[in-house]
């Protein structure tokens, strides 16, 4: 368990249900150290690093991508509830058929010429963000027989300090694949797992056009390092 949490929140490195951890999980204990001055500071991205067009994944192609259009809104907060402002949030996902626009993805599902699946924003003054996209499909993987990943969106966050840097995945409510997904279930605490599931929020959608979902993200807070920095 990491020193800063009363209960373990992140998954362990070694999780036999997810086969790729077998040779990649470090076996030696992590060395606990006070944060370096750089680790309590963070890189400063200019607002222009994320183009406005990168918040709308449905306008990348010549016409609209296939799939269920959705608006994803949320706030990035720290553990003390403070908004994480002006912070880089990147997102990537497969298309509505469950195929990534990525050379390594060999899933026999169609690519969508109008969907790349890449987005970027900087959070606003209240830590808020908004993306327009389509709901990604489920896709098979070779981890075990009949393995399918539940629909998910990959999210990468910088926070305001290097110590807050995290990559996670967002899932959808009531997905029947969630109970059998080793990656989702690698998070030991069932309540923490639910914090990776977005909520339907119809009014954030667009009437007769797009469904709305809300997903708030909580990063490490100011009091969360062993030395309280």
């Amino acid at each position: 368990m990491s020193a800063r949490d009363a209960i373990e929140i992140d998954p362990p490195y070694d999780f036999p249900g997810y086969k790729s951890t077998a040779l990649r999980a470090p076996k030696q204990p992590l060395i606990r150290v006070a944060p370096h001055p750089l680790e309590i500071a963070g890189p400063a991205f200019s607002r222009s690093f994320a183009k406005e067009s990168e918040a709308d994944l449905t306008t990348w192609g010549k016409s609209a991508p296939l799939g269920e259009k959705m608006i994803l809104v949320g706030r990035v907060l720290d553990e003390d509830g403070k908004p994480v402002r002006n912070s880089l949030l990147e997102l990537w996902q497969c298309n509505a058929s469950g195929r990534y626009a990525h050379p390594v993805d060999q899933h026999n599902a169609p690519l969508d010429p109008n969907f790349l699946g890449q987005g970027k924003v900087l959070t606003g003054d209240n830590g808020e963000y908004r993306f327009v996209t389509i709901k990604p499909g489920a896709y098979p993987w070779r981890n075990h027989p009949w393995a399918w990943r539940p629909a998910h969106i990959h999210l990468s966050l910088f926070g305001n300090a290097y110590a807050q840097r995290i990559i996670t995945q967002m899932f959808f409510p009531a997905d029947p694949l969630l109970p059998i997904d080793p990656i989702f279930n690698s998070v030991p605490d069932p309540e923490a797992r639910q914090r990776m599931v977005c909520k339907l929020d119809l009014e954030q959608g667009i009437e007769e056009e797009a469904l709305g979902y809300r997903f708030d993200i909580v990063l490490r807070g100011a009091k969360s390092t062993p030395t309280g920095v």
């Binding site: 020193a3 076996k27 030696q28 370096h36 001055p37 290097y162």
Partner: protein, 180 residues
């Protein structure tokens, strides 16, 4: 406290979504000694990891935290993706030594975060761009003890601007990873 969003793996399909133009070239407001940090990332079976994302963050040549500036991308930060041979390469400036709030003396180093398929959460550490005897008083070198050697980059004998540092996620000579 305790309500954080958990970490999940980056998976194998991040290369398009997380691509930064010239991500492996670190930008700074000023100039300094140009250096290259390069090496390979290996798994516990000694196989090169072709789908790791290596990010670095470092002090500027004077030892200060790089602040906001005119650059579109953040100063002092890089993002590199390993190739089929597991190799990453970062072009940067030599970080200055710096002093912590409690007077700790930090040797010239680069803070490193690595994400990969099979890593449900990032591994983090710091690599020293200094000879071993120049790291002796560094807080991490002390804490790592016998494992500190896994964090010292080696300066190329011919091209002194090149520093080599391999990462072993597991097994013999496993890199010392940190929690801070």
């Amino acid at each position: 406290m305790g309500n954080r969003t958990p970490s999940q793996t980056i998976g194998p399909f991040f290369h398009v979504g997380l691509k930064w133009e010239d991500g492996e070239k670190v930008q700074f407001a000023g100039t300094g000694e140009r250096v290259v940090l390069t090496g390979c990332v290996y798994d516990g079976g000694g196989t090169a990891i072709a789908d790791a994302l290596v990010e670095t963050w470092q002090a500027d040549p004077s030892g200060k935290v790089p602040g906001a500036g005119a650059a579109v991308r953040a100063y002092g930060y890089s993002r590199a993706m390993t190739g089929s041979d597991g190799r990453y390469t970062i072009e940067t400036l030599m970080p200055g030594a710096c002093t912590g709030a409690g007077g700790e003396k930090y040797a010239p180093q680069i803070n490193v975060t690595i994400f990969a398929r099979g890593l449900l959460k990032a591994v983090r550490t710091r690599v020293f761009l200094a000879a071993a005897d120049a790291t002796r008083d560094d807080p991490l070198a002390r804490a790592a003890g016998a494992r500190a050697g896994t964090l010292i980059a080696s300066q190329d004998a011919k091209d002194r601007s090149v520093w080599r540092w391999d990462v072993r996620l597991q097994g013999k000579d496993e890199t010392a990873f940190i929690d801070f």
